[in-house]
């Protein structure tokens, strides 16, 4: 296993003056390629904050953040956007899919936005990924015509579209019933072992965390591995 990313002395504060909240207080974290990790911690502990910083969607107040040898703390918005597109996949709890597009079109998005058009190769891979997540019969359904669990599976397929090294999932099963949640987690486990894609999944749910090999706890602005 090789090092995928390293975070050192990460600080994130929201607001200024009296309203200032220090959420992350000098956090250190390393992750290896191929990890399947759960991110645990009480509500408000800073799980989402950490995930969005790791996903380059949010700038930390201070600290270092490198991934694949690239320093992400001092990169421009355009550089971060390109990096995200190629190396990081996201699965969110809500608002995952573009509602006016079909399942296949949603999955293709990261490749199409990179290439400037929807290529035949991208379409083929998107169909393959949708078949992989068990949605072969829903390829051309509009996003709005899918159930919650189906939407999350489309989101996972889309997160994998550009073969990213890291997939960040913020409570991906938070909206789902127990059975769908287990299906989604089983799928993530399968992809992780097949393709060595690193997953970091935040959750409140012990049974979800039980699917993961490493459990990272956020508390008092720092992390510790359980």
């Amino acid at each position: 296993m090789s090092e995928l990313l390293a975070i050192r002395d990460l600080v994130k504060t929201y607001g200024e003056g009296d309203a200032e909240t220090r959420v992350l207080k000098g956090l250190d974290l390393q992750m290896e390629t191929g990890e399947l990790s759960a991110l645990l911690g009480p509500s408000g502990s800073g799980k989402s904050t950490l995930l969005t910083i790791m996903g380059t969607l949010l700038q930390p107040t201070s600290g270092q953040h490198t991934m694949l040898g690239t320093d992400l703390t001092h990169a421009s918005d355009a550089e971060l956007t390109g990096f995200r597109n190629r190396h990081i996949g996201f699965v969110f709890q809500f608002h995952n899919l573009l509602p006016d597009f079909t399942a296949v079109e949603n999955v293709m998005f990261p490749a199409a936005v990179f290439a400037g058009r929807e290529t035949a190769a991208a379409r083929a891979r998107a169909r393959e990924l949708l078949a992989r997540v068990g949605l072969a019969d829903r390829m051309d359904f509009m996003a709005t015509q899918l159930s919650g669990g189906q939407k999350q599976r489309v989101a996972i397929a889309r997160a994998l579209m550009n073969k990213p090294e890291l997939v960040l999932a913020d409570e991906p099963t938070g909206n789902l019933d127990r059975e769908s949640a287990n299906q989604v987690m089983a799928l993530i486990g399968e992809i992780n072992s097949d393709e060595q894609t690193t997953f970091l999944i935040s959750t409140h749910d012990e049974t979800i965390a039980a699917h993961c090999r490493r459990r990272i706890l956020v508390s008092d602005g720092r992390v510790s591995t359980l």
Binding site: S48, D77, G82, F90, F92, N96, D100, A112, V113, R117
Partner: protein
């Protein structure tokens, strides 16, 4: 960019009713723009036709003779010969100029004329007239006498005269009867009234008499030369340029019609600027409509914009998606508005042929291309503000909600 266009199209087709209304609004603005262009342009054609249709576009005369200094070398004494006031200046070289002028591009007709004043006498009645001697074949070339004829014919012989209806009424004569024409050179001829016209301009209808060039030569004792050459151009807007070119090339005095019609031109200009004002307001309405609709759309689509940004769509890509929507709306609205404008204007006769009292809109002057281009450019400009606000959407704050 192709992909941004696809997303823009999908967004527009996703809410068909809203997009349809927006495009309809733009089309109405374009329609107003085109209708105003056609109306202002048509009115100008109509008014010019009415006013300038029966006068020469350029008149060529001999240059005014300036007062001549008789002792040019004397520093102390100024002795000048008074400028000839009563003597008619003659265009003696008309025969040499005429073929050259007729060969110039844009010349529709020329007419050499001898003009002078006189009286038409019938019994005890004497009426002052302006006499114009014209070539018999060119009676109708400047003012369309043939079209305005109410009695007789325009076949002008050396013993004939054509007069206006007002004059005929004053003198109580009709076509075929005989009058005496007395020139201010005290030459008198007896002539037959061959035709009576009614142009609708009082100065002509009750004060003009047309005779043949030969008759005018005897009446005004001018064995050679002519008083002036009147020219009609294919395009009356070229009159100024044409006149100054002729003046420069020949040294003659060339007067364009615009010199005597400053009020008409002022009126037309005022009309054109009020038309432009209305067109400007139509464009501003389009821009505001498109901007507000797109701004609303960016607000509604904030979560999606956040997702796109998280998936690696750049700010420029997001800007492109919204500018493309503006462009498509402008183009569609422009094309539809221009098409409807053309269909609405096409049934109207062109102003030259419009019946009196008809709406003088000119379907040829709809400025369709300009309307489409300005609308599209306006819609693109209108989309920049919403596009920039879309590009500034912070993915973190919209996805977490």
């Amino acid at each position: 960019m192709l992909y941004g266009l696809k997303i823009a199209l999908r967004y527009l087709t996703a809410s068909k009713g809203q997009t349809g209304l927006l495009i309809a609004g733009v089309a109405v603005g374009v329609f107003v723009f085109i209708f105003m262009s056609a109306l202002i342009g048509g009115l100008a054609v109509f008014l010019l036709q009415r006013t300038v249709g029966d006068i020469a576009h350029v008149t060529i005369e001999a240059p005014d003779r300036d007062a001549i200094s008789l002792l040019p070398d004397s520093p102390d004494v100024l002795v000048v010969q008074q400028r000839a006031g009563n003597q008619r200046t003659l265009l003696r070289t008309a025969d040499a100029f005429l073929p050259l002028i007729e060969a110039l591009p844009g010349v529709a007709a020329t007419s050499q004329q001898i003009v002078g004043n006189g009286f038409v006498v019938r019994g005890q009645t004497r009426a002052p007239v302006g006499v114009t001697g014209v070539e018999a074949a060119k009676v109708s070339d400047i003012a369309n006498i043939a079209k305005a004829l109410v009695a007789g014919s325009t076949d002008l012989t050396n013993s004939g005269v054509i007069i206006g209806s007002g004059l005929a009424e004053d003198l109580g004569i009709s076509a075929g009867q005989v009058v005496r024409l007395q020139s201010d050179r005290d030459v008198e001829r007896t002539l037959v009234v061959t035709g009576i016209f009614e142009i609708g301009v009082d100065a002509l209808d009750s004060r003009a008499a047309f005779v043949s060039l030969a008759t005018a030569r005897t009446l005004f004792a001018q064995p050679q030369g002519v008083s002036r050459i009147e020219i009609k151009l294919a395009d009356l807007n070229q009159a100024n340029d044409f006149a100054s070119r002729i003046a420069a090339q020949t040294g003659l005095k060339a007067t364009p019609w615009t010199q005597g019609n400053a009020q008409l031109l002022d009126g037309l200009r005022a009309q054109a600027s009020s038309g432009n004002l209305i067109k400007g307001f139509a464009l501003i309405t389009i821009v505001i409509g498109v901007a507000s609709a797109l701004l609303l759309s960016t607000y509604r689509r904030r979560p999606e914009i956040g997702i796109m940004r998280a998936m690696g769509a750049s700010r420029r890509f997001v800007v492109g998606v919204f500018v493309a929507q503006g462009t498509l709306i402008g183009l569609m609205g422009g094309l539809i508005g221009a098409g409807l404008g053309f269909l609405a204007l096409a049934p109207f006769p062109v102003p030259e042929l419009a019946p009196p009292g008809g709406l003088p809109v000119d379907v040829r002057q709809g400025a369709y291309g300009l309307a489409i281009v300005l609308t599209t450019v306006g819609a693109i400009l209108a989309s920049i503000l919403p596009a920039r606000s879309a590009a500034r959407v912070d993915p973190v704050s919209v996805i977490g909600q």
